[in-house]
Assembly symmetry: C2
Homo-oligomer: 472 residues x 2
């Protein structure tokens, strides 16, 4: 109901239904002709149907369309935390601290990654937990204990993650799931499949097929530069792999048989004006969760557990996948969810490939990094040095500090910075300098590794082939 002339928003519909309900009451109570009453009732019914179509649930008199509805107006009385909005295309919060992740866990019905689980991962792998685990950057999971059960019983599992290649420009935030997935591959020694959803980007954006595929290949180079093991990693473009796999389309169509439009409407907020490509796409992101989508790796085995590290905004796809899995005889994929990487301008703003100052990009020079951090990184510092010395800075909203939690490996040093900045002992310029000194070598090293990624190496990563892994 959104992109046509004369459109009516869910809240307007809600108000119309209330008004029309009153009108029906008045007409019934008065001397109105039967035809007039009938018509008013039909209008009321039609409005309620439109409301259900637009909002995904039935009209309730005391319950205006909430902030959960994609793009919906938030009615009066919604609280701050409820205004966070998270789906695969939009992440919105009005808080400079970012999304309230504890509330998101409750809303999505996932589980918190707690100390106990982190300890169990450490025990199972014999490795120190990655800083993303230690610091709550991967903060939520589904069925991770089941993956560890399998691992401890020497049963195989595999990793699946992905990227939507919407442009050539990747920023450091895009690396978060890949940095973590590489660590998981290393410590568990398992095969990994990486889906490049070039078909999705073609469907959603104003791109040609060739452009979308070109971005997939370019982005694959940055992903490979994260250090994945070529013998254990298969990267695929949907546009390519759909036409070269005996297993992928079969799983796509299996999933598509078991998901209705009503369901994807409820989960993703699709409307009747959306293309049938968008409507059916969720099955394509779901399919790699099942091992027989990769016959060259897993043969016809359908029961190999999948573990998906991803940002939490991708969870709707996998909630759908987990709902379908038992109905088509497959195990549910397990998940590890990360928080979002904040834009330089603050956690409540949006990173954008078309705004080079909204993040640190993987092609930035040392000088650009320095300028961007100094000029654009939102600061939790005070207005004057005097005030800062007296009251201290606010790490909770300071983007430079947030970036350090992502990239500074040394826990003690990070804690010292937090203390010093909060107390006012450390000034904003000094904090930014710390970040610049972390980011400059990180990006430079990435660029050096990416230069080593030849077309032949990309081609090998992207060729369907047998992968070597221990638990076979």
């Amino acid at each position: 109901m959104a992109d046509e002339q004369g459109c009516v928003s869910p809240l307007e519909l809600f108000n119309c239904i209330a008004a029309q309900g009153e009108r029906v009451k008045t007409l019934k109570a008065g001397q109105a002709l039967k035809d007039e009453v009938d018509c008013a009732v039909k209008i009321l019914q039609s409005l309620k149907m439109s409301y259900r179509a637009a909002v995904g649930e039935d009209y309730k008199a005391d319950c205006p369309p909430g902030s959960l509805a994609p793009g919906g107006d938030s009615g009066p009385g919604t609280t701050e935390a409820e205004e966070d909005f998270v789906d695969p295309w939009t992440v919105q919060t009005s808080s400079a601290k970012g999304i309230d992740y504890d509330k998101l866990i409750v809303r999505f019905g996932s589980s918190k990654i707690d100390k106990e689980l982190i300890n169990r991962i450490e025990k199972a792998t014999g490795q120190r937990p990655h800083r993303f685990l230690r610091r709550g950057i991967f903060f939520s999971h589904r069925d991770m204990n089941q993956v560890l059960d399998a691992y401890e019983n020497k049963k195989p599992f595999y990793l699946y993650t992905g990227r939507g290649p919407s442009s050539e420009a990747m920023h450091v935030g895009h690396l978060i799931p890949f940095i973590f997935t590489k660590w998981l591959q290393d410590v568990f020694n398992v095969p990994l499949v990486i889906q490049m959803t070039d078909d999705e980007k073609y469907l959603w954006k104003d791109l040609t097929l060739d452009q979308a595929y070109g971005y997939a290949v370019e982005n694959a180079k940055d992903i490979i530069a994260c250090g994945f093991d070529i013998n254990k990693t298969f990267i695929f473009s949907d546009l390519d792999y759909m036409g070269s796999s005996t297993g992928f389309y079969k799983n796509v169509v299996k999933i598509q048989k078991h998901v209705t439009f009503n369901q994807v409407k409820g989960i993703f907020g699709f409307t009747d004006s959306d293309s049938i490509g968008k409507i059916s796409f969720p099955a394509i992101q779901a399919a790699p969760s099942f091992s027989n989508s990769f016959p060259h790796i897993f043969g016809d085995k359908t029961d190999i557990q999948c573990l998906i590290p991803c940002a939490i905004d991708q969870d709707p796809y996998f909630r759908m996948t987990r709902d379908v899995a038992p109905r088509i005889g497959y195990p549910k994929p397990a998940l590890l969810h990360s928080t979002f990487f904040p834009a330089l301008q603050g956690a409540q703003t949006k990173m954008s490939a078309s705004d080079p100052n909204s993040s640190i990009f993987l092609i930035d020079t040392a000088k650009q990094i320095k300028t961007k951090v100094n000029k654009h990184a939102f600061s939790g510092g005070r207005d004057t040095i005097e005030e800062h010395r007296q009251f201290g800075g606010n790490c909770d909203v300071d983007v430079s500090f947030m970036y350090l939690t992502f990239f500074l490996e040394d826990d003690d040093k990070l804690e010292q910075i937090r203390k010093d900045y909060s107390s006012g002992a450390m000034l904003t310029g000094e904090l930014k300098k710390e970040l610049i000194e972390v980011l400059q070598p990180l990006i430079a090293e990435h660029q050096a590794r990416r230069k080593e990624v030849t077309d032949e190496i990309v081609k090998e990563f992207m060729t369907p082939r047998k992968l070597s892994y221990d638990h076979q």
Copy 2:
């Protein structure tokens, strides 16, 4: 808007919009509060949107929703012929003469295959027109003159037809498009692609993927037995070919980007409770209409004209295809439409693979054919021999006579039978004997040819490969 409690029919919506329009006028003209007018306008907009969603086109004040809406209630005043219902899954008529095809041409907006077009085909090919053309069995077309223009200018075109493999059991009616397509291939000497929509059957029926694929292969044998040239014919299962073609999925996703749920709802009558597989399937039947779906045959050429011979119930897929084609830079496919093959029990009844007596099946023995025709073929004869001799039989409803129009090659003999049966000179038993004598050798010869179709031959037909054809 159909399958929920408190539903509102398109006609009711139409009337509500009219009433609400009046109300808005009255409110605007009177002393109503601005809020009240605004709300009434919003309600009017919402109703119009619902109307468009339900009917597939905009509300027009003087034009109530017509009989075109699939499954729509036929209002008072609809005539008998308007009650014919034709879509890819349902063909319904209450007339023993079958569907009113002239009305269908008007309703679908196609063109009649007239004497002039048949003459042009004869002139272009130098061959006597097939009996299906001479007798109006292929009765309707889209852009056939364009195909002939291309042919006469030595430009290449190709044929595309298909089958939904819902069971192993094929009956003689299923052969109609293939018999005609073989003739087209012979007289025009062009390549042919045959789509087995095993994915469709999996999505619509209670079948496993393996069953649907198995039926596709079995049905392919019967199709091959029609005599197609192995050097000019590619038969493919969707489940198979999607995973082995570099071009097919790309066209599917292109089409899927350019068709909305609103559109397939309007064309095919899908509802929100349908699976996303069904909703997106029309793109899969559309894609073979474009030559670059077959890179092994046509390379990356996108401009080779496609001609689709099919039963008219498949036209909705190709109306959609023709609508999309110019928007993705491809030529519209041309079509040749056939009438439906009647069930033994009469043109208003339904053939069914689960009722062996509803048609002549390709595995029937000579004895079964004789028994079925004698016992089950609906007769246009009179109740007693005396009455029949006096008043004559009715060929228009006699299924044996209808079958003869499909399968008896000799025009003069057919006309003689028509005259004799209509006059009463020929009795029902004699008419049935004529049919039995046509069907028995036809089926026996089919069975003999099918026996020659080895697994290797099927495999070759179904292997993506270069085809030889003249106009390259």
